[in-house]
């Protein structure tokens, strides 16, 4: 009999593919757990036994997990959601008598461009430039601590760039290419630690069934060494876009502006404690001054339009500067992880989805 598995965050990109794959192959009896009714839209293609529960509502999650053998936790969201969910979902799984939870962390706990030699044993820190990374580190720590005092077995997976049908890595790059806003840093030579979504789901299955996986953390990725140029070129070719239209950049420098610094100051504990004591008129005056100091100057009415280049993000820059292919030796050894879908096949399927979604692919 197929195991009954609750999938938390089932309406997202990985979750919807996992539900689709397991439901169609019968590998598991899937119970999607989503935040609200609207999140059922994509899942409702199938006749499924779904539940509604807020990611941080332990009681609702407990009810949603009742009768399930395992939970796959694919929650995405802002750092607060990730952290609140880690504790709530583990305690709910415990209360519901779930045997095992697979938690989807991220290779970004090691940073977007990890140091050579990085593996699962590398020390993690909590002062990342991106709050998402720190939230995943803290969620891993919270879950590991809960496992020490709990009975629900825990497996943590750290995938890199998960791509496939409905992935933003596919649609965003296609959108950028179509708008002539795609860019590559250092010629796209950086390593994209890609993993096709079905390969990740294979790792999830193995994490659910491997006796030795409890309390373990695994980096997972595709077998091939893939560069960012490989990714962009595959999608550009499918769209019939000339690779020479991609902007090539040297690594830009990013600095935290005044607005960012002041925003950081505003949310700091001392300032939050003092804010209620500050008169409203003074607050308004300070807000106005900050707005004036950080506003862009009005353009001259004589100025001709200029071609707008790509909007370069710090996160993408860091990812494209990655010089390391993260190892999957531990997953291969303990889980028996062997990614079945090659990069070429994964891209073929992803591009098939672009056609499905109405992107203008030449026949």
């Amino acid at each position: 009999m197929a195991p009954r598995i609750a999938v938390l965050g089932a309406s997202g990109f990985v979750g919807s593919r996992l539900v689709e794959l397991w439901h169609l192959t019968g590998w598991a009896s899937v119970r999607p757990v989503v935040r609200n009714v609207g999140s059922l839209a994509r899942l409702a293609r199938f006749d499924l036994d779904w539940r509604l529960a807020d990611a941080s509502d332990q009681a609702a999650l407990t009810a949603a997990f009742q009768g399930c053998d395992a939970v796959v936790n694919l929650i995405v969201g802002n750092p607060d959601v990730i952290l609140a969910n880690a504790t709530a979902s583990y305690r709910a799984a415990q209360a519901a008598g779930v045997k095992r939870m697979v938690f989807m962390s991220s290779a970004s706990v090691h940073g977007q461009a990890p140091a050579p030699g990085t593996d699962e044993t590398s020390a993690l820190h909590t002062h990342h430039r991106f709050a998402y990374n720190t939230a995943k580190v803290l969620a891993e720590r919270a879950l590991t601590q809960l496992r020490d005092g709990g009975s629900v077995e825990l497996v943590i997976l750290r995938p890199g760039i998960v791509y496939g049908p409905r992935s933003r890595w596919v649609s965003d790059i296609a959108d950028q290419l179509l708008a002539d806003r795609a860019y590559l840093i250092n010629g796209g030579a950086g390593i994209c630690n890609a993993i096709y979504v079905d390969n990740l789901i294979e790792a999830i299955q193995q994490s659910l069934t491997s006796a030795a996986a409890d309390r373990q953390v695994f980096l997972v990725g595709d077998r091939e060494r893939v560069t960012w140029l490989d990714v962009y070129a595959s999608i550009a070719r499918a769209l019939g876009r000339d690779l020479t239209r991609i902007t090539h950049l040297d690594p830009p420098q990013f600095s935290r502006g005044l607005k960012h610094t002041l925003s950081g100051l505003r949310v700091s504990k001392p300032v939050q404690a003092l804010l209620p004591l500050v008169p409203a008129t003074l607050k308004q005056a300070v807000k106005g001054a900050i707005k004036a100091a950080t506003a862009s100057p009005n353009p001259s009415k004589w100025q001709l339009r200029m071609a707008t280049g790509p909007v370069v993000s710090e996160e993408i820059t860091q990812l494209q500067l990655c010089a390391v292919q993260l190892p999957c030796i531990k997953a291969e050894t303990i889980l028996g992880f062997q990614p079945k879908v090659s990069f070429a096949e994964g891209m073929r399927r992803s591009i098939g989805w672009l056609r499905f979604a109405g992107y203008p692919l030449p026949r």
Binding site: R17, E20, L21, L24, T25, G26, V37, G38, S39, L40, A41, R42, L43, A44, R45, F46, D47, L48, L52, G164, P165, R166, S171, R348, R349, S350, G352, W353, R355, F356, A357, G358
Partner: protein, 371 residues
Amino acid sequence: MTEQQPNSQSTPLRIALIGCGAITEQYYAPALKEAGKHTSLEVTALFDPAQQRLNAVEPSFPGATPLIEFEALIAARPNLAIVASPPKFHAAQTIALLGAGVHVLCEKPLACTLVEANQMVAAAQTADRLLAVGLFRRFFPALQTIKALVAGGALGAPTSFHFAEGGAFNWPAASASFFQKQHSQGGVLLDLGVHLLDLSCWWFGSPASITYADDAMGNLEANSHIQLTYTSGLTGEVRLSRDTPCSNRYVIEFEQGKVVWQVGDANHLDVRFKGITFPLSGVLREQSSGQDQAADTYNQSFVRQILNVVAAARGLETLRVPAAEAISSLRLIECCYANRQLIPMPWLSPAELERAQALATNSALTPSTSL
């Protein structure tokens, strides 16, 4: 049984709201308040079987009687009822109201099946009551302009059209009925497609042939692809989604140009003339009260719909979108479902595809409807 309708602007038309879900809370409640500033109307009764939903809408109409029994609403004898309940209740509720002598504005889709829709239209004729359908996009100035362009030939004959609408689902549905086949007999095609196909019928007439594919695999489709051909040689493509990003644009190619409408932009159109470099993109305007001003927006068009139905109930105007107008698009929808194929999904493995095909076959209605 009929009842004298208030035909004076000073006598309030008594209106009942049937169903207190998101459409009532977010559209009808504010629109009726605005309409009440322009004509005399009064919401006298609210009906919903869920007390929680009644509680949500009651504050908007403090003078209305909240009812959880539909029969009590019939007994209250409003002049006009707005049926905004889940689609599977439209036919029974509307026919009961018409039979009690009540005019009805029924939210789209008019019905879940063509048979039901025809029964509703027949019931309105028998009762000599008005039955309007909430295809309020027909009140959009931009879409009326497209109608005039197609009919008038200012850009030549239309040669092809491409409509894409949808995206990640963000309607604040108050219940899961949207996604349960036992409550909603269709997915994105019945929900969104009813608008697109109504407009295509309004503009171009009925197609000569239609091919349809969706991704329902045991329940309700999230993506629909439709191809249409017309005896004039016009061809059309419609893509609907509750899943993937969409351009949300209607593009109509004419012999002498092209018109682009962005979904929801009720008073704005882009027009490109053949051989001319610069397309026009602008707000449609109208003369109103001696002033040249922007034509109605999305929300204003919704209010216009209500004002038209109220005026028609008083015998002062002709109903602009009578329910009979919805029959053509419902026939197309039924034809689509009856002849549906599974959309190619090249990321599925052969084993998945085989199972998907089996589930899709079970999702299909019995093929019975043709154009």
